[in-house]
Amino acid sequence: MPAMNEMQCDLLVIGSGMAGMAAAMFAGQHHIDTVQVGITGEINFASGLLDVLGVHPQDQGIPWEDPWAGIRQLIKDTPDHPYARLGVDQIQRAMDTCIAFLKSAGLHYTTRHNLNSHIITPAGTVKTTYAVPHSMAAGAQALASKTPTLLVDFHGLKGFSARQIIETAGRRWPGLKQLRLAFPGTRGELYTEHAARSLDLAANRKALADLIRPHLVGAKAVGLPAILGIYRTSEGVTDLEHQLGVPVFEIPTMVPAVTGLRLREAFEQRLPATGIRALYQQKVWDAMVLPNGEFRFSAGGLAPETTIKARGVILASGRFFGKGLRADRSRIREAIFDLPVVQPKKRALWHHKDLLQPSGHPINRAGLETDEHFRPVDEKGQVIHPRLHAVGSILAHQDWIRQKCGSGLSIATAFGAVDAYAQLSRQ
């Protein structure tokens, strides 16, 4: 067996999705000696929008204009929701901190003075969200004021059709026009990452602007799929606006989207600079608790490569797609520590008969039960390990997809858990 690298740290963050990234970020701000390990997962599938709370109660599908009022109602109605462990002030602070951090990494977000914004989706529906990437802000504005807008799509780009958007949204938003272009320099299928990398270059943006300009006639804004660069998106949007003379905005695309890639790149580039020792593209192979109460892990890519000793752990390994939860024929297990998972009694109860049931399925609310410090507890409510915390979508009693609270849940619980870890350590 080859010799293993050795690492020692105060805190190990397991996961590199939204929750893991946020936990590492907060740990860095607390000056905690932190190692982060995680494979590429759900963050590649992010829309780039930061939701806090969009819908509650979900079975009635009621959208909230003021997410904070919505959260207060949610906490009242479902006191076991992870948000209930935090309260509105903490969630607000968490979101503000995260948005400021992303700004320092070059990703600018716009919020509407603590109100939710609304943007158009590639399906033509309207989505309620909290923070909107700078590149999409003009879209929220255009939707709100029903600006006559030219929507552009491309030959070969799957899952994004200007005509479909108009078909669905046209009644609510008259004055929409559509334009289909061949993406400069390509024919056939078009993939978002390739297009975005291409549009990071000024020459390609100019070619695109030249194709759009003759079709502007009367349009006061231009909407494009979210492919305006990966590293210099703001610069690209400004450049296009300058060339076209009207506001330009992005509309989220189908996953995997470059909006997720931008988030991932921002965190991956910036976190190591704040002192985080990151082992990206690596996963935890096994975990154990030593007699002195510390943790020992082995991590690596294709095989275990590094032994990590840590005083505490923040588990942000996600749900099924992120590999934090694993379902077998009879039950759902937590993948790393085999922690107790709150779940329906038997498999037959995991799902309703109606796939599209608005209230969601019981399995959607399965997950880890924690105490007020986000430490997983067993069936009797006993903390399993005093320095083991869990954050993000792996937590029980939430349905982030239907509640439209994914980013907020990840960021706020990470904030709460790191804060708790720091305070408990000080005691």
Binding site: I39, T40, G41, N44, F45, T186, R187, G188, Y191, Q281
Partner: protein
């Protein structure tokens, strides 16, 4: 008399051989350009190019190349000091020995009226040069038997060249040692050069030579102060002008010390005469062999370096490219530097095909173009050539200035034209439709070994999210993936998952994958995308060889990849 004939005969063979070998430069057709031009046209084109160079400033570059890369061997010095020492000692040692020793009648004897081979400084110089050559031979032997890549591929030409050098040198040193200690030779010399016939003086001279010149007499003379004193006078009067003390024979003297006890026996059988024959005959053989082995590089390398100084082969007129390549084949000394720098050499560990290495490939190409390569070796050559990535490092490091990269490309075309087909070439000019018509259902013995493709666990987690395609640099550089690649990575994964691997094998995405592994790293479900593509390509390659390969030229064992 016999030896004189031998010398002239070998000289004639050498000259004829050189002409024959240079003639081949104009008859071998290497590369796709104007394949059947008559030698006369080739010679005319070559002369035309040469004459036009003579009047251009580029002639300075040629002279510089000869000084820097032939006389100083800077290229070799940069790569390895040890090899430089080897080459310089061998080259300058032999050149001086040939000029000042073998041809001394034409050189030193004319310049210096008092010249004698046994007098200083000539004796010392000759021995010094001998030691130079010996150093070179020892380094060459050690190098050829210690460097991992080289020691596997010592050809007969390498061994013959070193053996001939060693035979000439060792017989020469041995000859001088035996001559020094030889009593019969002493007697002959006394008879030929000693003026008087006083037996007492001869006895004294014998005593002096036994004491100071290492001659071993069958009946040892009485050595005392008086005989030595007389002997010295006689010596100074008759011998000293032509004979320096043997200690100056720094190469032969240690040998004298060793063979001294055997000297009387050697004198009886006149070993000195035997060694003289061996020494001269070995030199004759080397001379006659010069055009036929790697020693020919004495002529071909300066020509090749001159051509290189002018420019790349592509810059030559089409007819001259053939000539240039033929010179290149002849200029290879099999020194192995290219193999040591070859970027695909590590593949030798997996695919045991010596023709992956440029140093071996050029040798086999030389055999192939002259119709001397065995059939199964031809197939090996074609396959080894396919593996080259045209990185150009071999051309950069070749001390003989051979435009190797051009040679590989030209010969690859020739091999394909003569039926040695290249799977990559085939797949680039065809697509999945052509594949499904020919190679789709061909199976090979190794087919069952696709442990990733045939295992459902490899794909079960794939959600067709297209991340692999999104990050793929091959797809990114394609203007139209469907036209250029048939399918994108995630589509290939889907085909294989549907157990349609026979179809996936012919997809150009499989063949154009650069194995950068980004797909595999980024896959959220950890599907080993790149490994699957690699496995598919290997199997497709095997099948194409079965269906499209020149099966008539194959033996069943050739079909086994390893």
């Amino acid at each position: 008399m016999f030896l004189t004939y031998c010398v002239y005969l070998s000289l004639a063979v050498c000259l004829a051989g050189v002409l024959w070998r240079m003639g081949r430069w104009f008859t071998l057709s290497i590369g796709p350009e104007a394949p059947s031009a008559p030698p006369r046209a080739r010679i005319a084109a070559c002369l035309h190019a040469t004459s036009s160079i003579l009047t251009r400033p580029v002639i300075a570059a040629i002279v510089k190349a000869w000084v820097v890369d032939v006389l100083i061997q800077r290229q070799i010095a940069r790569k390895s000091v040890v090899r430089w020492v080897m080459h310089m000692t061998l080259f300058y040692g032999f050149v001086s020995l040939i000029l000042l020793h073998a041809l001394d009648d034409l050189t030193l004897a004319r310049w210096d009226p008092d010249y004698a081979a046994t007098a200083n400084p000539y004796m010392l110089l000759r021995n010094l040069m001998g030691l130079f050559v010996l150093t070179g031979i020892i380094i060459a032997l050690v190098r050829r038997h210690t460097l991992v890549l080289l020691k596997r591929f010592n050809t007969r030409a390498d061994k013959v060249a070193i053996a001939l050098c060693a035979a000439i040198l060792l017989s020469g040193v041995g000859l001088e040692a035996v001559q020094i200690s030889s009593a019969p030779l002493f007697d002959e010399m006394v008879q030929d050069y000693f003026g008087g016939d006083d037996p007492e003086e001869i006895t004294s001279l014998k005593a002096y030579w036994a004491a100071y010149y290492e001659v071993v007499f069958p009946q040892p003379p009485v050595i005392n102060a008086q005989s030595l004193e007389t002997g010295q006078t006689v010596h100074e009067d008759n011998c000293a002008a032509c004979h320096s003390p043997p200690t100056y024979a720094i190469a032969a003297y240690p040998v004298v010390k060793i063979i001294k006890p055997l000297a009387p026996a050697m004198g009886r059988i006149r070993l000195d005469i035997g060694l003289w024959y061996i020494h001269v005959l070995a030199s004759c053989i080397a001379l006659a062999y010069l055009p036929f082995g790697k020693l020919f590089h004495l002529i071909s390398v300066p020509v090749s370096l001159a051509a290189r100084a002018v420019g790349d082969t592509r810059g030559n007129a089409p007819l001259n490219r053939h000539t240039r390549r033929a010179i290149g084949l002849d200029a290879c000394t099999h020194c192995g530097v290219c193999a040591l720098h070859c970027s695909v050499a590590p593949l030798m560990a997996v695919i045991d095909n010596p023709d992956i290495l440029p140093s071996e490939k050029i040798g086999d190409l030389s055999l192939w173009y002259t119709g001397r390569l065995e059939r199964n070796r031809q197939w090996r050559l074609a396959r080894g050539g396919n593996i080259c990535t045209a990185c150009g490092r071999c051309t950069d490091v070749c001390p003989a200035g051979i435009d190797l990269q051009d040679l590989w490309q030209a010969s690859q075309t020739d091999l394909i034209d003569s039926g040695y087909f290249s799977p990559h070439g085939w797949i680039r000019t065809n697509d999945m439709v052509a594949w499904s018509k020919s190679a789709k259902t061909a199976t090979t013995a190794a087919d069952s070994g696709m442990h990733l493709v045939d295992n459902p666990d490899t794909f079960w987690a794939c959600v067709q999210c297209t991340i692999c395609t999104n990050v793929c640099p091959v797809v990114a550089t394609s203007e139209d993936p469907r036209r250029d690649l048939d399918l994108t990575p995630q589509q290939v994964m889907n085909l294989v998952r549907l157990q349609l691997k026979d179809m996936a094998l012919g997809c150009r995405m499989v063949w154009d994958c650069v194995t950068c592994y980004r797909c595999q790293e980024e896959c959220p479900q950890k599907v080993p995308v790149a490994d699957v593509l690699y496995e598919l390509r290997n199997e497709a390659c095997r099948r194409l060889h079965v269906v499209k390969g020149p099966t008539s030229k194959l033996s069943p064992s050739d079909l086994q990849e390893r």
